[in-house]
Symmetry: C2
Subunit: 474 residues, 2 copies
């Protein structure tokens, strides 16, 4: 019984939300109906922008009454079309961007209560003004909102030490599909009253309700960092180094990124004003970063760890950035890989994870599996080795029409990659979620037991399927 | 359509499980049909003891086919009757104790894969044999099993640093109510494929399926500890000290227990061979423990932290245990409080939590609220201040018949305590869970939004209500 909203339904919503919170103007809605990569384009009967949690609950009640499907949206910077409505024009877009207050920062407990529409960068600034840091950051920090980050269980570049959003969420406030407001904002270290709803909303992609606010864990503002560049023979040796540094440096280790030599060459070739940190052309490179409160002990620990690894012949060469500018130069190489690779022509990209220990085996073996079935195809992995999460690119053979080859083989190539990942107990979506992009893939490849459980949870909490229909669950 | 199992159903189960895995012998079943505190007594049509995950899945399939209700059980050392069947004799007791293998210990990744029936103490020993430690322990470690600890999201004495079971579970294998086996054992640091089933099984009390194994996080075996006893004026000052030490000592802080002077006096009076660590009779006492790999830095950090607190007049007095024997003596006082209090006569006990910052206010205010409604009633809190979790005892006025007073007022007193806890955003079950003991209390006091969500999840995953019926959800 879902369909285009009746005039009565739209009037009820308009009356509730007023001119600031309700629009059907195509010009205003347009930028929010396409995902930022331009892959998905949708339509909406109206865009609803509630001012607070009570308005959000009230609008959900109206939608429940009239049977109207909703698509919650934050900064619209997701990677899998999870916040883009379908093309029917029957769905309502619920923008959480007006709910942009940092309600509270408790410096003693190092906790903040933040509304769904707060932009990550603004929250960083608010925490810093209290001498604190929210230790999750990513490329889209200028647009991504707290509600979207919770709902997609966002990761980013500091997961090694601080975990994904799931590990930083101490409380959640959300409107459930029946329009009731669940207040789970109190940060309880111990709470055994049955199923943990807070955790369930992390990564639910708006399919179980709308997150209106979250209580987030803060850490002391890091005042020092130390960055090193390391040349190394293999991902296997890199994993050994990770284990050593992990044991020696404890929680200071904040970044551990791996890149093949071909990536570095591609960056040096395609990105102006970059230079190789090391002269040696080792098969693999690592960017390692430590963060803490004092520079000196960090520096000592890093140098001692690398010296021991050199002595043990675990690494070939290493250099520690002498200053902040050099650190930035190291990171610029890492962060330019995607751009540099684009200049080399099209590639299939996979956002995958496996248990950290199995990542070297995956990186070593997957190219062989690919070539056996797709002669000439070239696989390349780079990224967060410490998280068991790499960006895995597959490029067409050098001598064929790339676009044609990808159109003919792309799906089969990706299946081969994903099946390999699943063999190792891994995930076909490490960071970006499922959304509409991987919905059918999940239905095809995930275990029937897990799929049945996901569908059971969805049916139990949103029996009429009004929340973000067509996303996550087929 | 649940009822006493038919002979055909029992035959199918007996054929599947064989004589080691199936019994209806009352003598064998009897010890497992009463909870260990003797508060709940049940009956069972049979006790099923599967040897492995596949047998567990197969027995669940048979039960699903015949519509038979199941009660999963581990070490039978729970506190809320969560593993005791009802009195009907229609339910089947599923003992997981035969599944007692530690499948794997990965020293590099510091992870173990452990079957549900492994007893906690045995797992501690297995980890230690690899130079590692599983950092969760509690009084029932000689009987509590891994499956029960996962299903009750157990806490214990090291939560301050290492979290509850939820924080240590990196993977779960479970049989779902339809008899399918969910294999979520792979430890993935990043996995965004929708709802996190691993987390959902933590604290589900066997109502959503049977946990058959878990992947658990280990830490290096701690080789050193340092224990201090502190005299202090108030819970408020204790919280300030916690924040200071937390900032200065970081992850070394492993215990932070608070006790009122009356508790200490009760222990000294009732427990032989105990002596007060400090001469001063301050209103409150703290037991503080640090753990790490080297003794010297721990000792220095603890002494420096306490000296600074003395200088700031935040604490009245402090003593650091000189050796392991003194540490044990300090802990013996803390661990004897319950026993000593029992000697003082009956009391109502509450297992509650509030946000850590609000605990001093709760401890200070609750006695006043109680006395206003129940003149002469005496409230006393002690326990894990660092976790926002105390044991809150209420004793009858000194001049009345205690048993009679408790019978007449007990329920109303507990309601007052729980309502106060909920006002502060706290939990009516911090550690022990809901089971059958607090099932109706939860239904009465929790928010309608949260209750509806719990019921939705239960209905979605176990639509016929065959898994641990009558527990957790009314």
């Amino acid at each position: 019984m879902t369909g285009t909203p009746s005039p009565a339904a739209l009037r009820a919503l308009s009356d509730l939300l007023g001119p600031k919170g309700f629009t059907t103007d195509p010009d205003i809605m347009s930028p929010w109906l396409t995902d930022w990569r331009g892959k998905y384009r949708g339509a909406a009967a109206a865009m609803l922008s509630p001012a607070d949690s009570d308005e959000t609950a009230a609008l959900v009640k109206i939608c429940a009454e009239y049977g109207l499907p909703l698509v919650p949206q934050g900064g619209n910077s997701g990677m899998v079309g999870g916040a883009t409505p379908d093309a029917s024009g029957a769905q309502l877009l619920v923008s959480m961007r007006r709910m942009n207050r940092v309600r509270e920062i408790d410096t003693g407990a190092q906790l903040a209560v933040v509304e769904a529409g707060v932009i990550l960068e603004n929250f960083h600034a608010a925490a810093l003004a209290h001498g604190l840091r929210f230790p999750l950051t990513l490329g889209g920090k200028g647009s991504a909102t707290i509600g979207g980050l919770v709902s997609t269980n966002a990761g980013g570049t500091q997961v090694l030490r601080h975990g994904t959003m799931r590990g930083l969420v101490a409380g959640v406030e959300a409107v459930l599909p029946d329009g009731s407001l669940f207040n789970g904002l109190a940060a309880l270290k111990k709470d055994n009253r049955g199923y943990d709803l807070r955790q369930l909303f992390c990564g639910a992609e708006g399919t179980l309700g709308i997150v209106t606010a979250a209580t987030l864990q803060l850490v002391p503002a890091a005042t020092a960092r130390r960055t090193a560049w390391v040349g190394i023979a293999s991902p296997d040796a890199a994993l050994q180094l990770l284990r050593r540094l992990d044991a020696a440096l404890g929680r200071a280790l904040e970044g551990f990124e791996i890149m093949p030599q071909s990536c570095i060459e591609s960056v040096l070739r395609n990105i102006p004003q970059t230079r190789a940190p090391l002269d040696a052309k080792t098969p693999w490179h690592l960017l390692i970063e430590l963060a803490g409160e004092d520079e000196e002990p960090l520096d000592e620990a890093l140098r001692a760890g690398l010296a021991a690894a050199l002595d043990a012949k675990l690494i070939d060469d290493a250099v520690v950035a002498q200053n902040e500018r050099e650190s930035e130069e190291f990171w610029r190489i890492r962060d330019s890989i995607s751009e540099a690779e684009r200049a080399n022509g099209p590639a299939l990209q996979h956002d995958i994870s496996v248990p950290v220990d199995l990542m070297p085996a995956f990186i070593a073996e997957n190219p062989h599996r690919l070539v056996a079935e797709f002669p000439g195809a070239r696989a390349m992995s780079f990224g967060h080795l410490g998280d068991g999460n790499v960006h895995h690119h597959v490029k067409p053979p050098p001598d064929v029409d790339a676009v044609q080859w990808l159109a003919a083989n792309g799906e089969a190539v990706s299946r081969l990659v994903y099946r390999h990942v699943l063999e190792l107990g891994g995930s076909i979506s490490a960071e970006h979620g499922i959304g509409q992009m991987k919905r059918d893939l999940l239905a095809e490849l995930d275990s029937p037991a897990r799929l049945a459980a996901l569908r059971g949870i969805k049916a139990g909490l949103d029996p009429r399927g009004l929340f973000n229909p067509g996303k996550l669950i087929a």
